[in-house]
Symmetry: C2
Subunit: 489 residues, 2 copies
């Protein structure tokens, strides 16, 4: 075997083990017995140690020094293997295993603390998670910024300074638009009876319409909707709220965006380093464009209005025009995952600033709740009264995801870029969507984005797909046009 | 760290990874998307390669040479680690990985072939599995018997000659009892409507009564009932047949016997080599004594009769006496998992002989169906007409389990020994069982058998628990007494 072939054989097995570790995460969130939390933490720690040792294996370093890629895809594989190897060599194995163990345990503690609105129960373990991730970031960054080093795990090539510039360009336009919208009368809310089984049946219908292949996936119920796995086994979860069917339906469309991305990667890349979505930002661009630019469009909501009246009877809204306004109702609120398109990025901008301060050591875990509540009052004009609606609402920090939040807004920005390009290329899109058929748009995304897996770097992928460098401008134009029309601005 | 401490730290992580691999098996049988079969085979192969490399690690050999156990449990841990290490060193890593890959794939092929009654679809991969396992047995056995070497994976210390002697002592007594019983009129069959949801609810009630802790387990539906996992995460499956509630109820009690064994091992042994049931024979003794000697006793079936009439209404049987006969109805049939206590061991004796011939090379896979059907006609007096009722009925060979079948009958033998000892120690047992309460008996088993995990070797464990060397005599006496009374012999 050549050095390249040896490297790929090793990397394929590592990729298979990564799928196994991911499946443990799915299991933990959906079916694991509640008494198994501590044991599962040991199991996750053991898997993480195995993966770390494989990535750091000195043979990988030796093969990398010699390997000659046969083609562009091979060169991408080498780039991804090298990045993982260099990262693993920099982080001591014991630290990696401890992070896996602590975050697995912390997730259960967070869930209990959120349920009981009890920050004190969560803060000690959160302090431990922050300390460990800061240590990891410092090991990775050398003389550089630890937070930017952590960010690379989710968005390779992203720079904190560029994200800050982009986000600061968005902030005033979002604030202005938000203020104008909130002065106008609110559209009607949905009312009716939304049986959970009917919600799940309609969610599955929507999942299929958006291209989710259930022979290579499944839909379960979990506290927090998520997508998990690559290739032939990509699973999503949803949840039902009897008063709010949009929660189930749109979180399903969102997760289907993630899941079809994984399902539509070129099968030749399966179980290789490039056989997964390239970054969290590009992942989020797929989920967001499915959910928002397609799923919440006037054309698609016209079809959905009719379909929901078939499934549930009257929904308390007189016609498709009003239903479109209801689907896109702008409402101040505390919870990120329930936020509308306009508020969503304000939630992210705030978390981006707070988590950078936590990792930099400029903000202590003990002061986090106060800092959160102050910033929320400033940006959203509301006082947080329960920690479960404040800093305890998200799972991310409990599982050590620092550097992940900004990829949500970056995903929205990429979705804005991709949507502008799709509208240019597919003039008949609204006619399809009005029939409940997003397949032309999802095929465009499969061809331009999804099939490439990790072969192209995120920024390069978006540039090639759209013909333009990524910018926040298409997203902001889309938001101002859409909400301007909906609210008569 | 001392050599013993280093060894145990390594072994704990290996034990955690074994739990992960076991969970993949659970996932495959219960929730895995059907399109994921090939990918899962790669994942299982990767896990097996990791486990093999850890067991064969030269550092383990060096630690073993130096390690001083602190106590008897430590000595047992060393014994188990040494056995796994020596086994792993003898089997090449590539062979181990290939076996994992092929058997994972073969299981799906077997399921499809059984569903379609299509032996030709299964034989090529079965030939491959036999070839690989024979190669493995030869690598393990050196100059010895490859089949006996494979047997050690399931029942350490078992000898083929001893099993043959025991089984041949049972065969004539079983044949005589069977012939006498089948000349007598059959008890009534059950009739009624047995809603699947009610079956599952009653099965869960029985599981709790027999001590299954659902905070550290769960019950799902699968084609083939099984128990999976150790310690804090031990899951069982069941299935429902609308015409036959006993299938669901008694398979649940059976799997609860396996599962509570794992749940009641001393927690100090969790995630160590001795933190699992010691052998398949001892495992089966627990499942069988729960299911048969306790669950099918006159006293317990009296309680169950009343409970089933509450759950389902009339069940077509006049009274508790007749119900006891119905539960224990002897019926010729093709399917092992549906066999009564009297026929069950005849199924095993046949498989034991056939699989020894396959591994020895005295029987080719091409001739297996014919050999099966001939032997079945001789032992059971019936002609097999469909392969799905013949050699395609069991999953075992597809997943490479050669040497596993005899542990079922050995388990029945052990159950007979343990039951005789329990009857001696607990004179009021029938009064408890008549109230639906097997807890005194299951506590006896927890104390004498289950808590020890792998600390005592199988034969030694049974001897200490019962005060006698294992023998088939108590089982045969129990069967002759029970069925003699039920059939008026």
């Amino acid at each position: 075997m050549t050095a390249f072939e040896s490297l790929m054989a090793h990397a394929r097995r590592t990729a298979a083990l990564e799928q196994v570790a991911g499946r443990l995460g799915w299991d933990q969130e959906t079916v694991m017995p509640r008494g198994a939390v501590e044991q599962r933490a040991e199991e996750m720690g053991a898997m993480e140690a195995v993966l770390h040792a494989r990535r750091a294996d000195p043979r990988v370093g030796a093969w990398l020094a010699e390997a000659e890629p046969p083609d562009a895809a091979g060169a991408a594989q080498l780039r991804l293997i090298r990045r993982a190897h260099e990262r693993a060599v920099k982080v001591p194995e014991d630290l990696a295993a401890e992070i896996a163990r602590v975050t697995s345990r912390a997730q259960g503690i967070w869930a209990a603390a959120r349920a009981a609105d009890d920050p004190a129960g969560f803060l000690p373990v959160l302090a431990e998670v922050v300390r460990l991730r800061r240590e990891e970031g410092a090991a990775l960054a050398g003389a550089g910024d630890p937070y930017e080093a952590l960010l690379q795990d989710y968005e390779s090539g992203a720079r904190v300074a560029e994200l800050r510039a982009m986000f600061e360009a968005m902030r005033p336009r979002l604030a202005t638009l938000r203020a104008a919208v909130l002065e106008r009368p609110a559209p009607p809310a949905l009312s009716g009876r939304f049986d959970a089984a009917h919600q799940r049946a309609l969610a599955e219908e929507l999942a299929r319409a958006f291209g989710y292949d259930l022979a290579r996936g499944r839909i379960d119920t979990a506290v927090h909707p998520f997508s998990s796995g690559s290739g032939a086994d990509v699973r999503i979860t949803t949840r039902t709220d009897p008063a709010d069917p949009f929660n189930c339906l749109y979180s399903t469309i969102h997760e289907v965006g993630h899941a079809t991305y994984e399902q539509r990667i070129d099968p030749a890349l399966a179980l290789t380093p490039a056989g997964q979505g390239v970054s969290m930002g590009v992942h989020e661009s797929q989920s967001r464009i499915y959910e928002n630019q397609l799923g919440r469009s006037r054309a698609f909501t016209g079809w959905l209005f009719a379909r929901m009246r078939e499934a549930f009877g009257e929904v308390g809204v007189p016609d498709a025009e009003a239903f479109h306004a209801t689907v896109n109702r702008v409402h101040p609120g505390f919870i990120r995952t329930e936020a509308d398109e306009l508020h969503y990025n304000l939630h992210i901008l705030m978390r981006f600033d707070l988590e950078r301060a936590l990792i930099a050591g400029d903000l202590s875990v003990a002061d986090l709740e106060g800092a959160w509540d102050d910033r929320f009052a400033a940006d959203f004009g509301q006082q947080v009264t329960r920690p479960s609606e404040g800093f305890l609402q998200d799972v991310h920090w409990s599982v050590g995801l620092f550097g992940y939040f900004p990829t949500y807004t970056l995903g929205n920005v990429y979705a804005g870029c991709l949507h502008a390009a799709i509208r240019r290329d597919l003039p008949a899109l609204d006619e399809d969507l009005a029939r409940g058929d997003p397949s032309a748009a999802t095929a465009w995304l499969a061809e331009r984005v999804q099939r490439h897996g990790g072969v192209l770097e995120p920024r390069d992928l978006i540039m090639r797909a759209t013909g333009e460098p990524p910018s926040e401008a298409p997203l902001m134009d889309y938001l101002e046009t859409k909400f301007g029309a909906l609210y008569g601005l």
